[in-house]
Symmetry: C2
Subunit: 440 residues, 2 copies
């Protein structure tokens, strides 16, 4: 079979960009053998022409002028790896307008402006491929869109931010406080100098918006997603949760009930320690999907890093060049916003179990008071844990887990508990996420 030459332009020559260049340059023969496609890196655009990168580009292809790429008609695919939602958007729009298909890892941009970009691609009769935008090297986008295409997907539970998973794993295994674990993650390159987008849950929300949109076939807005980060998690709660059989994870959750109502949220979550997701630690990502036919499928792998992310980018390049991305993209029928808005459940309506920790004064009547507040809000207790040791100010930590209840009731109860004069600090509340079992 004759080889088909595929010319590629790359915008953004940072870590992932270097990985992509490395694979395209070093593995061209192997990929041509395997796919019949001869990938050629024709142009690399970056504002920094000087920095040392772990890959040597052929003479003359590195430029700081995007127009060189745009005006080269022989370039079929433009890879945008600039990141962010500003200039990256302009770049993608220009690539599409110049008749190039777009491959990107930019979750923030797709989560915020995906609808607009998809429309621009449709208008230009081009496609946007974004396997690398979620969970790095794990082929989760193609998994959902192709491999699980027959399924009515009811839920996704994802560990989709390696930084947070690394920090929470260290807090669990080494009994470290958040700040220590974060410092270590930064030292080892698992967290940025400014980690806010990761630890706030923002990055997970971007990925959830993309995953939920393709899984449920809906235009999802970031506003649909309730987000809490891990910044305020303390090792005390990681430990108490552990004693009660739970592991703390930052989960990105998309659930659709039988009436078609959709719940989207990112928050610290206590997961049963026996669940496979609980056992995914360190910087790994994992995504658990429930489909009406397939049951439960779990994907585990590296969610970030130069080569794992580049693996997904180059997979998309191949898929675009084969013409498959276009077919799938053209059949990506997302329900429009006006039909979706009414389906999104607000967090107040969430029914969940909850972990609540109070710092209670060690005096008679505390349990009666606490019990009354819970009872007044129709909250039923599932478990209680109080050690005999004392906390600061002669207060003792009391941990309560609840039976399923509405978030709104819990929120009201938390306020009532905080107001008690026998409770010495604002109660801590963490959702317990009971991931369904796909039993034998």
């Amino acid at each position: 079979m004759q080889e088909k030459i595929v010319k590629i332009g790359l915008v953004g020559f940072g870590t992932v960009g270097s990985g992509v260049a490395k694979i395209i340059l070093e593995d061209a023969d192997r990929l041509a053998d395997k796919t019949g496609l001869r990938l050629q890196l024709a142009c690399v655009v970056d504002s920094d022409l000087k920095r040392e990168r772990p890959v040597q580009l052929p003479q003359g292809i590195l430029t700081n002028d995007l127009n060189k790429l745009l005006s080269d008609k022989s370039i079929q695919i433009g890879i945008e790896l600039v990141g962010g939602t500003g200039i990256a958007k302009e770049i993608q729009l220009k690539l599409l307008a110049a008749g190039k298909d777009v491959v990107t890892a930019n979750k923030a941009l797709l989560a915020k402006h995906g609808i607009e970009l998809y429309a621009a691609a449709e208008k230009a009769d081009r496609c946007i491929a974004f396997e690398a935008s979620c969970a790095g090297g794990i082929p989760i986008i193609s998994g959902i869109r192709t491999g699980l295409a027959a399924n009515d997907i009811s839920a996704i539970y994802g560990i989709v931010n390696g930084t947070c998973n690394y920090i929470l794993s260290k807090m669990t295994s080494n009994a470290e406080e958040f700040a220590e674990a974060l410092a270590q993650a930064q030292q080892r390159g698992y967290a940025e100098a400014d980690p806010i987008i990761d630890i706030s849950g923002g990055d997970s929300a971007h990925k959830l918006a993309i995953l939920a949109s393709i899984a449920f076939g809906c235009q999802i807005s970031l506003d649909d997603i309730y987000v809490e980060g891990i910044q305020h998690v303390s090792k005390t709660d990681v430990q108490f949760g552990g004693e009660m059989g739970y592991m703390l994870k930052l989960l990105a959750i998309a659930e659709k009930n039988q009436q078609g109502r959709i719940s989207l949220r990112v928050h610290p979550s206590f997961v049963n320690s026996e669940n496979r997701l609980a056992q995914v630690d360190g910087s790994f990502n994992a995504i658990s999907i429930f489909g009406h036919a397939v049951g439960n499928v779990l994907f585990i792998g590296r969610g970030a890093g130069m080569l794992p992310t580049a693996s997904a980018v180059v997979a998309d390049v191949i898929d675009v060049a084969l013409g498959n991305s276009a077919t799938i993209f053209n059949h990506l029928r997302l329900k429009p916003r006006n039909e979706v808005v009414g389906l999104i459940d607000k967090i107040d309506n969430l029914v969940s179990r909850f972990y609540i920790r109070l710092m209670a004064k060690d005096q008679p009547g505390v349990f009666a008071q606490v019990g009354k507040v819970l009872a007044d809000n129709a909250i039923s207790i599932s478990g209680v844990l109080q050690h005999e040791a004392h906390g600061p100010d002669d207060s003792v930590p009391v941990v309560i887990t609840t039976h399923p209840n509405r978030q709104a009731n819990i929120t009201a109860a938390l306020k009532g508990l905080a107001d008690l004069n026998t409770v010495s600090a604002a109660p801590v509340c963490i959702r317990i996420v009971d991931i369904p079992e796909d039993n034998e």
Copy 2:
């Protein structure tokens, strides 16, 4: 967007066939919404027209005459779910000759006659899609071919037979002997009345042949695969292995070394209990893949069953109808047999660690004799376990684990050990598979 009508003929109306019919009939609207394709079940062929099935077909489409399907020009896709390597092959060839694309779950057929069938498909300008042939609902074929396309894959470690995994799990958790666990599996529907194809490792070998061929891009023959089943595994070894930190799994293993040499084998394998594969129990399947860019990716899910397998079949139907299967199929460039044969490593060359259990007479000099046999074969001991309790005939079980060594040396040593007059039964030998770690 206008809906495209896709007419489908189904051959084989058993368990999986019923699941496929169910999804196509009951979910047609949802799938049309999602994909733009209106799937229509136009003809169902089965020799048994009477049996009750869990789905109600429209009047007049069930027939025992394959020609009705073949002669219906409006049918674009033929699904072969007859199974086996006899009539199923004729059916696939006829479907292709009649101008229909083929979707199948038939691993035995593809493993044995894949090369011939792929050639027939190419000649007919049609494609064969076989996502359902490996690991049921887990989208592993599309994962390897699309999502991981950029990777040079170095290894696959798979639990790809749910029957065996169920039996081994029960032997582990309930300390049952093989026969008991098998009987239970049969009772619960996890094993066939005649379970030989599963417990012999044959079914796993079929799947491994398919996975290895697409992962390594080679025409693989079943003869390339060394196969041992689980029929002779005893709970004694499951327990001793457990004490030493190992879990027993039937693994399908494909490894490619840096010189391109390929090792393919299916056998009972002791896996470190901490490894994620070790923790996959019951009837679940799991496939761990190592790629040069992606690192390690693990897929876990249901490897069998009516709806999980139907999930994969219908995914293929959609992919074929969109035209993507054809593109991928046409780019499936498998290295021909004459180039592959020389790359396959024979089992004697395998370098592995081994678990050996002897029943030794409780008398002086045994360890000296055993040690000499091992030393004579250049085998270095990694661990020894001998309890103070006695076995039958006043013999005691002695368990030895080795450092990595060649299979040929171990085979010679096993013969030497069996010949010792202080060893009362043929030694048991199980390979220890050290799955690489993808560390932080």
